[in-house]
Symmetry: C2
Subunit: 548 residues, 2 copies
């Protein structure tokens, strides 16, 4: 076997990062390592990993990923699909058996990765959830490697990690080092928000980003599917919403079958799809296909012809919402729906005499947050009847709306001090919190802004241990004003990868320089898998992006 | 014929911008119009244009672009190539004869665009230059349209404009309105700088951007081909430069054939290729393949093992430069070479005792700008023997180096006040100037930063008319620290389009709102032609980008 030192010397020109491998030796006990071999570049960094300098070769002609004979996941289609995907990632789509050529007889070969699902219910046909067990163990130390997980969700993450462990030796032969990994996420909710309203996102773009999310162990696709600008969701119950509210009723909509496809594509990668139907603000596009849903604004004593937020004083509004969310709750299998509730502009409500009358009758005075809360309260009651839990933007909490205890409060506003105070307040009130403020990746600036993204931590606020435990994670948000299919993917990746590691890896994984090295390699890995992830700084990838 | 009002009413949903067409009528005399029909969206705006509401249909089965019988360009391959390209732009690559279906007998049809080159020498087989005649006239007012230009370069621009005039009516039929255009550029030098050193840019990416440059009437590709980070230019004379200095000697280099292909691809689109070989700074990668070229830096009394700028005190340096630039001058046909000369760090020169001795011998004292000028002076003399003119970054002028009168000074530094003073100083000294400072498009910020780009004007400084005439144009620069094939194209377009209009159109074309409307449509046109140009703001394109 070629010694590791030689291997690194030879690799250093081609890859530039090879430290680590020379200095790691087999450890008999698990202990957290913050810096595995850079050449291998695990991202996000596993909780516990040891990588030795004993290596094995993998031949595409013989290597197989198989169910362990005792696995509860035997015959699981989700896993079969993943085996094929990761085999292709490891060996490349075009290469058939090239890696075998450099095999020599004195080299140990890894012929198999056995996947063992230990729980009686593998959840193969189920959906991932906030409480899914995503942990896994991976052992590579003889001709047959073993990946053990309680559920398929952990197995998916383990397969991604396994694929990240495989590298090419100086002759291009696929190689993996003896390794022990025990891994699990720090936070249960690790999301990406994409906005398909400001710009319509072709299904292909959404699927490519789900694919990339899986490479980064994200597990929630927060689909901000409609907003003021357009309503691309094709509703079975209210088809006029997209006929009138989409940018185009045929070319710029998501059909029920397409939505189903997105959900299944995500499920196969351990990703939940949480749709957001934001009300009562952000609803201009809803009004086009649903008469009387929005509040008519007045100019003096007459309607101006423009409309404001959802009209909270009509019974028809709540009839509509009841039917609409009944549909949504059946279309989207996840236990949560995001109900929005942010940025309600009171100008139009204030102009409308019927609203003013209603305010007086209900003793709301001039406090329009009370009217907002009145609406939200009724909406939450409606959604509760569908047996769904809900996520809401922080304003709903700030305005004192009565919430069910399992409500997830999504923090998005303010500067660092302000969002930390908000996280403290939300959790002090006993609610679970999600952070997004430092992760508005639509905001861009010149240079390596991933570093600021990487440094933010959702548990970094003043509070008790009990409060910290109420932090269930966070989401990177890519609002759609300035992105569409032309630039979304390189703008999101690898900047969102920085969020991925913060939400998955141990709290102590904060070394920027190590992160830079690993993320640079991870970026090239995404590029090699066909994802146009942009560079961190000047550098090159062995296989540059072939698109334009 | 369908009236224009109806046409606009029907189109308004699909396109959103249709004003203009209703309000424009046939004018018998040329006069500048700042706002042609938005539906048509000419970009950059022609100097003089009239568009009436009389329209013609174009059928892909019958429409042809042909040489006028009296044209000096008959049989010119450059034109034939362009006819094919623009036919495909107009009718779409996939569509064969779809547009014919909606033809009705009562509609006037445009069956021909005749291209007439009036100068005896069409320059069909030549290269564009700083003094090329790029003007053209375009008349569409009967079944046969006529495009007249002195040289092929004007014809190319006219074909682009013609393709921009064609739109789809409400039935998808290709339509063009009766039109008279007389057009010519405001500035002769309209460039884009791409940097293939910080990141290697695959040839495919470079060609796609040349293609897009032609759509925006840019005429100079400033190829910042090598720099500190890598040396991808494969030199016949000094092959070790790329063998040692490229990121990879095979996968990350431009072979002589590839360079030739880029130059020809550009020529066919009326684009000059000006290579930049920046010295004496920015040369770390040169040193890897050329011993003794760079200055050895000292740590105390001993060489530290690191190297600084080109060593200006050795005769071997000038021998090398003589041979190297002899090659460059034959590989690149353009009359100009960009010699760089920016950002020379004196630290290493100061540390080197041989340099200090040389400084004393030449009476330079401690003024290292004198040494820099000594080097540049000798370099300019060398390059002058190749009969090339040169462009240099502003420092060379600032340091008082003696320059030939045709030198182009490239202004890139400072804030607005500073670059305006520099433009004034350069032109007051009688030199021709190019502006880039406000057009460093690698610098990004959140929102519509194209507007600031659009507002900058290279003649906006205090100076005489004679000084203003010395401003030959400008360049949009996309330095490569944070861009490669994954994100370069959407980051550059349509932001560079704002520079394109500033450099082509009349000085009075400054209406941001009109520019927004036209540029939005132009952006979608680029997308439809396969270029992932990013959105300006929330919106949609009839045909969204299909890539990822």
């Amino acid at each position: 076997m070629i010694t590791t030192v030689l291997l690194c010397t030879l690799l250093v020109f081609a890859v530039g990062v090879c430290n680590g491998l020379q200095h790691n030796h087999v450890l008999e006990e698990f202990e957290p390592v913050s810096q595995p071999p850079n050449r291998v570049s695990l991202w996000p960094l596993p909780q516990k990993a040891q990588i030795s300098d004993v290596s094995f070769k993998l031949a595409s002609s013989s290597f197989r990923i198989v169910d362990d004979k005792d696995s509860a996941g035997t015959g699981c289609v989700l896993l079969q699909d993943a085996y094929k995907r990761y085999f292709e990632y490891i060996f490349g789509f075009a290469k058939k058996s090239g890696a075998s050529r450099s095999r020599t007889t004195d080299q140990a070969e890894l012929t198999e990765l056995k996947v063992l699902i230990t729980s009686r219910d593998s959840e193969c046909d189920g959906f991932p959830s906030l409480t899914s067990d995503e942990s896994y163990k991976l052992i590579v130390n003889k001709r047959s490697a073993v990946l053990t997980a309680s559920k398929v969700w952990g197995a998916l993450h383990g397969l991604e990690t396994f694929s990240q462990l495989v590298y090419e030796d100086e002759y291009g032969a696929k190689t993996i080092n003896s390794t022990k990994i025990h891994d699990f996420p720090r936070f249960a909710h690790r999301g990406i928000l994409l906005d398909s309203s400001r710009h319509f996102l072709p299904i292909k773009v959404i699927l490519a980003n789900l694919e990339t999310m899986a490479m980064n162990k994200f597990n929630v696709f927060h689909w901000h599917i409609v907003d003021d600008q357009s309503f691309p969701y094709m509703s079975r119950t209210f088809p006029q919403l997209s006929v009138k509210g989409a940018y185009h009723p045929y070319t710029h909509v998501y059909t029920p079958d397409e939505v189903k496809m997105v959900i299944e594509f995500a499920r196969l990668r351990g990703i939940r799809v949480i749709p957001e139907f934001d009300t009562p603000g952000h609803t201009q596009s809803w009004g086009k296909g649903q008469t009387d849903l929005l509040t008519p604004c007045y100019s003096g004593s007459k309607p101006s012809g423009t409309f404001g937020p959802v009209n909270p004083i009509l019974n028809t509004t709540y009839d509509f919402m009841g039917q609409f969310f009944k549909e949504i709750s059946s279309v989207f299998p996840d236990a949560y729906i995001h109900l929005g509730g942010d940025e309600v502009d009171f100008t139009c409500w204030k102009s409308n005499p019927d609203i003013q009358k209603f305010m007086n009758e209900h003793g709301f005075g001039q406090d329009y947050t009370k009217l907002e809360s009145f609406y939200i309260q009724k909406l939450l009651d409606i959604v509760s009847t569908t047996s769904k839990g809900y996520m809401i933007w922080q304003e709903v909490f700030d305005n004192g709306v009565k919430l069910t205890p399992d409500t997830l409060i999504h923090v998005w506003k303010g500067n660092k001090q302000q969002y930390q105070e908000e996280m403290a307040n939300v959790t002090a009130s006993g609610y679970q919190a999600l952070l997004s403020t430092p992760w508005y990746l639509n905001r861009i600036s010149y240079g390596q802004d991933w570093q600021g993204v990487y440094k933010a931590d959702p548990q970094d606020f003043k509070g008790t241990e009990a409060q910290k435990k109420l932090v269930i994670g966070g989401e990177a948000c890519l609002w759609g004003e300035y992105v569409d299919g032309t630039n979304l993917t390189p703008r999101l990746w690898p900047r969102a990868s920085a969020v991925a590691e913060r939400l998955w890896s141990d709290v102590g994984v904060t070394d920027i320089s190590d992160a830079f090295n690993r993320l640079s390699v991870h970026r090239c890995r995404m590029v090699e898998r066909g994802i146009p992830a942009e560079p961190l700084f000047y550098s090159y990838c062995p296989h540059e992006y072939k698109g334009v």
